[in-house]
Assembly symmetry: C2
Homo-oligomer: 140 residues x 2
DNA sequence: CTGCTTGCAAAGGCTTTGCAGAACA
DNA sequence: TGTTCTGCAAAGCCTTTGCAAGCAG
């Protein structure tokens, strides 16, 4: 997906959801507006907090359902770096991450800054589903 | 650490723990014997189950404390690929992983099969703490 | 209408913690 | 003996689920 997905009007969000065969309910549209507004890394709790700040009346269960749905259709990407919570990344183009284990901060690695040669042979009977590179850093 | 760390006698385990400034209590020695017996990926629950199979009377709390301690001193490595549980890898030499999202199986990627060029510039004020490469695969 | 969604609260699963008793040095 | 460790149960967190009421098409 390109950066054109960012800064979307409500109508564009509705269209985007429809293209992904997601029925554009009010909650889903509001969550999409928050999450897809710019490249960012948000936990479910942060999405909920942002929604409430905006005045949306969305429940925690719906945030989880919706983020799971968005991840399944490729609107966001789950980033698993911290055993205590999942991050959702609104940038679904191929890129990798720095994770500061002291602050819990997740940052993008500039595209092209990590070269990954050809993939190794996959285990028999499997197909690739994604490659994650996480560089853990510590505040010094 | 080399493969020489595997197949250790009780005395060797005690010595290994002492070298890492870990007081070799009975439970820690038993857990180390299980975990460090060979290259493997175990969850805390699996360590506990193996300990009980062996007849050790170790509690869940002690398994968590001990695995956390071992990870902190570098006797094992935490592998975070699944938001529902942490894996402990007894192979602490540099290598990466395949993770089968369908089966939950974690496998080593043969050493050298993934080429990672030079690391990108780290965020200001941080130092590298580790690099994880996870290739997610699906059963086909 | 008819099924999909939502929200609430409760349940679930993994991990941590508090504290008394036990083991280590 | 003083400190560190262990075990149990309870608590904590994030996430999922059950089910009745509410919306979408």
């Amino acid at each position: 997906m390109s950066a054109a997905e960012f800064h979307l009007s409500k109508a564009e969000i509705v269209e985007l959801l429809r293209r992904h065969r997601i029925s554009p309910t009010q909650q889903r549209v509001e969550i999409a507006q928050i999450v897809l507004s710019k490249p960012q890394h948000l936990s479910a709790d942060e999405v909920l907090a942002l929604a409430h700040e905006r005045g949306s009346r969305v429940s925690k269960a719906t945030v989880y359902n919706t983020m799971g749905l968005f991840a399944r259709v490729g609107l966001v990407r789950e980033v698993i770096v911290d055993p205590t919570k999942v991050f959702y990344d609104s940038n679904v183009s191929e890129h990798h991450h720095f994770y500061n284990v002291d602050t819990g901060e997740l940052m993008d690695i500039p595209a092209g800054a990590v070269e990954l040669g050809t993939l190794p042979d996959l285990p028999k009977g499997t197909q690739a589903a994604g490659v994650d590179v996480i560089i853990r850093v510590r505040s010094q």
